[in-house]
């Protein structure tokens, strides 16, 4: 996986809900709104995984969603990053006693950055993006 110079300058993000309660979605929308304005760094939500560099995954993976999550992941072109937003994708969160889960997300996809919180604040999501950029820089330095 060779990183081009432009990759970590304008991360395009595809957001995928795998059974979340919509709390994390609201915080993601708050993150991309003008108050924090990540679009000045070229980060924006896109409508298709084929245009994306980063996959934001929220929610514990429900049984019906697991196969679709894998398909969306395969549609994202390489190189790509996966960020897990919210507690659900890491430990089940409020859905801890559900019978219908295939998660956590890292059982289904290789996750690069975890952002805990129920839901995480926009600052936490931005901090996660910074961590992802640091990881990219280490990748570039290793090449």
């Amino acid at each position: 996986m060779k990183l081009t110079k432009s990759f970590n300058r304008s991360l395009w993000v595809f957001h995928l809900n795998t059974g979340s309660c919509n709390g994390c979605e609201i915080e993601i929308v708050a993150t991309i709104a003008p108050r924090y304005d990540p679009e000045r760094f070229g980060m924006r939500l896109v409508g298709s995984p084929k245009h994306a560099d980063v996959l934001l995954v929220t929610g514990p993976v429900t049984k019906k969603m697991a196969q679709k999550v894998r398909r969306v992941y395969e549609q994202v072109p390489d190189p790509k990053l996966v960020m897990c937003i919210g507690t659900c994708g890491q430990s089940g969160g409020v859905f801890y006693d559900s019978y219908n889960l295939d998660g956590p997300i890292d059982q289904v996809l290789p996750v690069d950055v975890y952002v805990p919180g129920c839901p995480p604040r926009p600052e936490a999501i931005i901090f996660g993006v910074v961590k992802a950029l640091e990881k990219l820089e280490r990748l570039e330095a290793a090449q």
Binding site: K63, Q90, G92, Y99, D106, L139
Partner: protein
Amino acid sequence: MSETPHRTPQEIIDLYRTEFGAGILDARITERGEGVRKTKGCNIWIRLDKNLLKPAIKKLMDIRFPHFAVIAGNDLGDEIELLYILSVFYGTKFGEYMVTLAIRLKKTDLTVPTITDLIPGALLSEREKQEFFGITVTGIPDGRRLFLPDDFPQGVYPWRKDETGIKPEMVRELWTIGRPKDRPVPPVPEKKPAPEEPAAQGTQKTPGGAAE
């Protein structure tokens, strides 16, 4: 469609009582405040005999064609209660009432007639009640599962609170799973955690001191 006259909640209950008599087991009106000004709004709750469900919905269609919201359900132990939540006088400002028609099914006879011949949109909700409560909706045009996965075991009904409910071994406790161990080594090593700072700040705290 010819408009039928607008009626008060008490008039609706009186119409039901004259039509069905002893078949109405319970009928009451609750009031709630709508919006900031707390304008009065009404909910009508009618519990009736199981056989009267379809005539009751037909009666509501005579009053004014109802807006079907959802069928709710509840496991009461020996019985399963189905709540058909509808609203009449839809779109009338401060004159729209939620009408909840409740029936109770004994667990020895979990059948209920379909209402899709009257309200076709009730099909999805009836399919959901079939798979989650294990009831049988007689005459349903499409009895497949809706939400549950195809490989979900037969005879397990997630919303039941008795022995046919969710088995404890079906719950995967995600917090015990941890991070996967069988993945290839990442191309760059993980960053080492920062060395812990000496606890110089900790001595300034008074034991049991309240926040400022």
